[in-house]
């Protein structure tokens, strides 16, 4: 049967897994789960991941979820080049530190930004209040400052001279933010340089292939949703804006 990866490339966490697997030539079967159609809520998918989220992995009888855990699993199982997730105690610790900071701080902010600016207007027909958008913009500024000063520090890649899982995870989320008008890379030349390094290592063909759907605004218009999708997405938008 082989490795199966359950993905929707609209989700940054899925893009991370997709890019990582492809860049490392890990053979897998792509199993599409259309979030806009609420497919992650299906009973079938629930057998793969009872948490009903993507990305998810199935390898024979073994199933798991959570993008970062999946990357760690793939790196180990397929004995990938050490730089992706180094065995060295301190190098690995610093990458873990970055990944956890990103999951704790950056990703929720990206999600909030995306939902406030794009999903909520699409689903609820109204824009978020100006103060909330302003608060998000401020948070962005602080977080990106932290990224540059504490983590990147002008290095080629986050952990030093070689690319690691940290760069892939980070880039996918940051590019998502550019869809909402955050001028991250135009305003920050060091981050732009880092982005070029990561994209150059992975290869633009793969990057473009992975980003295609999210960079196309039509992908999250109401036309791409069915009733199930509208239902769960609207509930989520309402929760966020309440």
């Amino acid at each position: 049967m082989g490795l199966e990866l359950y993905l929707d490339l609209l989700s940054p966490a899925c893009r991370v897994v997709y890019i990582f697997a492809k860049a490392n030539r890990i053979p897998f079967e792509y199993k599409a789960v259309a979030l806009m159609k609420g497919e992650q809520l299906s009973e079938d998918f629930g057998k793969v991941n009872p948490l009903k989220k993507v990305p998810a992995l199935k390898d024979g009888d073994f199933t798991m979820s959570e993008s970062i855990a999946i990357l760690q699993y793939l790196a180990e199982k397929y004995k990938l080049s050490d730089h992706w997730y180094p065995a060295n105690l301190e190098k690995r610790a610093k990458i873990n530190e970055f990944l956890l900071w990103h999951v704790n701080v950056v990703r929720p902010l990206m999600v909030k930004d995306f939902w406030l600016k794009i999903m909520a207007p699409t689903l609820l027909g109204r824009t978020a209040p100006a103060e909330r958008l302003e608060a998000v913009a401020q948070e962005f500024s602080t977080v990106l400052d932290q990224f540059e000063k504490t983590f990147l520090q002008g290095k080629t890649y986050i952990s030093g001279e070689e690319i690691s899982v940290a760069d892939v995870v980070s880039l996918c989320d940051l590019i998502q933010a550019t869809c909402t008008g955050q001028n991250i890379f135009e305003e920050r030349p060091k981050m732009a340089a880092w982005r070029r390094n990561v994209e150059s290592h992975i290869g633009m063909e793969l990057i473009n292939e992975a980003q295609k759907v999210v960079l196309n605004a039509g992908s999250y218009s109401k036309d791409s949703m069915d009733s199930k999708g509208v239902e769960w997405l609207t509930a989520r938008a309402q929760l966020l804006l309440s």
Binding site: P50, L51, F62, M64, S65, E66, S67, I68, A69, Q72, Y73, E76, K77, L89, E90, R92, A93, K94, N96, E97, L99, L100, W101, V103, N104, R107, P108, R132, A135, Q146, K149, T150, S242
Partner: protein, 244 residues
Amino acid sequence: MGLELYLDLLSPPCRTVYIFAKKNGIPFEFKEVELMKGDHISEEFGKVNPVRKVPALKDGDFTLAESVAILLHLARKYKVPDHWYPADLEKRAKVDEFMSWHITTLRQHTGKAFWLKTMAVALLGKPLPPEKIEAGLQELHATLKQLEEVFLQDKPFVTGDKISLADLLSICDIMQSFGGGHDVFEGCPKLAAWRQRVESEIGVELFIEANGGIQDAKSFSEQKIPPEVAKRLMARLQHHLGQH
């Protein structure tokens, strides 16, 4: 100089690191960082962790933040018993999966419960209206249900027969939501039983030593909080009340 752990036992991730280090006999110097006094805002602490959060680790020139990163580092460096973070690929993946899920769900929701119940009293001088608290706890109830039905199921511990970092991480966060006289395990006998097992594995004495402070909600409201700290805390409370 040796290993230094910068901790405030009022913070769940700090308690996790503390219990883990103590339980495994890892020698360290406890460097207290009192959040309610704003110690984490100090320039000195900024040199240990520029992100200004606890827990933080310093080992000679090497510094590290983020509780899960610290736990994994300690587990690897001090070669703790395998069950904490198994070498087996699939067992380890399940611990990694749980910890990643935990950070974005259980930690957030137990934190919110703590802010709505305990910190609100400390900052506002009186409890929030019960409806407001209850509304804020909806997500916590849903997440605890997932903990029981998706992760724990009928196993003694979250990822199997033995205690792991997954159990330790989650129990410390869950303890945070116990303030305000509200038993979050009410109606969840499986979770209550799991808690007893975890407490027993850790050792009741160590468990109480670490978690005792958080149970004493009264002491929070009686604290004299410096104005700069109070301002930051109020902003966080407002965030939890949805006024952001």
